[in-house]
């Protein structure tokens, strides 16, 4: 008999464990999705190379750990400014020319960038799988019959802090207001004297810094290889659409929803079902609430 179909006292521990796993997995997804939704929200560009920047973050953690024995938690502080600069450079070299172009051009450009980065990683570092094993990656903490992985707990906490910080930045600072104004109406923003070019550059760099940091934080949990980003990025698109394009708080909630569907679906119906469930959810949201669960109706066409 399938244990998922029986209910009893033993199921309480199982339920608690699955809830913990869901929240921690949701944290990882949120960490990855928040940069994607930021870039989409302000620039209206879907960055198909997002997963590859995640992969680069994972390689940064791998090399720092292998060459200098640096813990990913330390590398995190280096990765944020480093990936901010990588974001600025990528913007100047690649995105600048297409930010006002048609969506087709943007899609081809970012997909092309994704392929270039994957193959660059393949040429530079080969297709071998690598692992980062700091002390905390194998450390399980047990509380009331549930187990937490320490690396995953920290990734979750950083995801929350990062999301809250970005939301606060967007709502409370002058720069944030300028960014939101640019997203709402590019032309009016220009007329108000906003340097929208600078806003786009900053947005892209912030989004890349966030995903680079995410890559460093997930490196102790998953194998590092040139197409590692693909493992998460498809999910991130689902999350971003669920939460409302450009809505960072929504991305956090969307991540938890996707993680719930994944963990519960996997336990109750079998792992093979989980992708069916969240893509049904994805299609359902697109049909009934195209602006996402929390987005405003019509927001999806803003600036297009």
């Amino acid at each position: 008999m399938d244990p998922a179909r029986s209910l009893g006292p033993a199921q309480i521990d199982v339920f608690a464990q699955l809830a913990v796993s869901t929240i921690l997995l949701g944290g990882i997804y949120a960490l990855i999705a928040v940069g994607l939704t930021l870039i989409y929200g302000i620039m209206r560009v879907v960055n198909f190379a997002h997963g590859e920047f995640l992969m680069l973050g994972m390689y940064l953690a791998f090399w720092a750990f292998t060459l200098w024995s640096l813990d990913p938690w330390f590398v995190l502080f280096v990765s944020i400014p480093l990936f901010f600069v990588i974001g600025l450079i990528t913007y100047a070299l690649v995105m600048k020319g297409v930010v006002r172009a048609s969506h087709n051009v943007q899609v081809f450009t970012t997909v092309g960038l994704s392929t270039v980065l994957q193959n660059l990683a393949l040429v530079l570092w080969s297709g071998d799988f690598h692992t980062v094993r700091p002390w905390h990656s194998l450390r399980a903490t047990r509380v009331l019959g549930t187990a937490f992985n320490l690396s995953q707990v920290v990734a979750f906490v950083v995801a929350i802090v990062l999301t809250v910080a970005l939301v606060a930045f967007m709502r409370l600072t002058h720069t944030g207001r300028v960014m939101r104004a640019t997203a709402q109406d590019h032309d009016a923003a220009v007329l108000m004297g906003i340097d929208t070019e600078r806003v786009y550059r900053l947005t892209f760099a912030l989004g890349i810094a966030a995903v680079g940091a995410a890559g460093v934080l997930v490196s102790p949990l998953y194998a590092v290889y040139p197409t590692a980003g693909l493992q998460f990025v498809l999910l991130s698109y689902v999350i971003v659409v669920l939460g409302g394009l450009g809505d960072m708080g929504g991305a956090l909630v969307g991540s938890l929803i996707v993680a719930t569907v994944e963990v519960a679906g996997s336990y109750i119906f079998g792992t093979a079902w989980k992708e069916i469930f969240y893509f049904i959810l994805f299609i359902g949201v697109l049909v009934f609430r195209p602006a996402g669960l929390f987005g405003q109706r019509g927001a999806e066409t803003l600036g297009m």
Binding site: F129, T131, L230, Y267, T271
Partner: protein, 228 residues
């Protein structure tokens, strides 16, 4: 499943998943398996999911007597050892022979080709040939034998040469013999299986005992922190 019953194995459950490359959390599977309480876990895995399963099984303190894998991926690949190190101690993989393999158990021609091949691989990669290396190398060597015999690439002559092969167990790089039947398959009795086990970061041959200097350990597997 039916075959398992025939040989007297009780199957307590089966979990299927196909997204072996994109699976990010195996806890739901492990929690379910834990409730089924199996003696042996037979997990066919790939590069991503084997270390993930092992790490999360440890986190969940999922205890079983043995894990057996088959094939050169997942637990049968060198990446598993790199990913988990000594924490991987005890895992079994049905595979081509690894360290500890006694080449004296092979026929003289098998010994020569096995040694030449292993030396070449070690010179090139610095490590013992693993998993599919011997199988692929053996296949290529067999092609050379057939071409030498046929002296032609004519399909009929080639086929005749293939079917006329009759090499006993212990003549190929991996210790197999060769005798193809009418359907073009190598006869089962010429195929020699080996069981390997992860022991202190290395996948070593542990069975059949006449082919190896190593012995299987950690049966049944003890608590997670006592597999040293």
């Amino acid at each position: 499943m039916a075959r398992a019953k025939e040989v007297g194995l009780q199957v307590v459950g089966a979990v299927e998943y196909y997204n072996f490359q994109t699976i990010n959390d195996m806890t739901p599977i492990i929690v379910k398996l834990k409730q089924l309480n199996p003696d042996v876990v037979h997990h066919i895995a790939y590069t991503n999911d084997a270390p993930l399963f092992w790490r999360q099984a440890r986190e969940q303190n999922f205890l079983f007597k043995a894990l057996v894998h088959a094939g050169a991926t997942g637990y049968g690949g060198s990446d598993f050892g790199k990913a988990v190190g000594n924490d991987g101690n005890g895992v079994f993989a049905l595979l081509e022979p690894g360290p500890g393999f006694k080449i004296e158990a092979l026929k003289p021609e098998g010994q020569k080709i096995e040694k030449d091949f292993r030396d070449a691989i070690q010179k090139r990669t610095g490590s013992y040939p693993l998993g599919a290396h011997q199988l692929a190398g053996g296949g290529l060597w067999l092609l050379k034998i057939v071409l030498d015999k046929a002296q032609s690439d004519d399909p009929d002559k080639f086929r005749t040469a293939v079917l006329s092969l009759d090499m006993p167990v212990g003549t190929m790089i991996n210790g197999w013999g060769v005798k193809f039947n009418e359907t073009g398959q190598n006869a089962n009795e010429r195929v020699q299986h080996y069981m390997l086990q992860w022991q202190n970061g290395q996948l070593v041959t542990v069975w059949p005992e006449e082919f190896t200097t190593n012995r299987a350990k950690w049966i049944p597997l003890g608590p997670w922190d006592q597999r040293k």
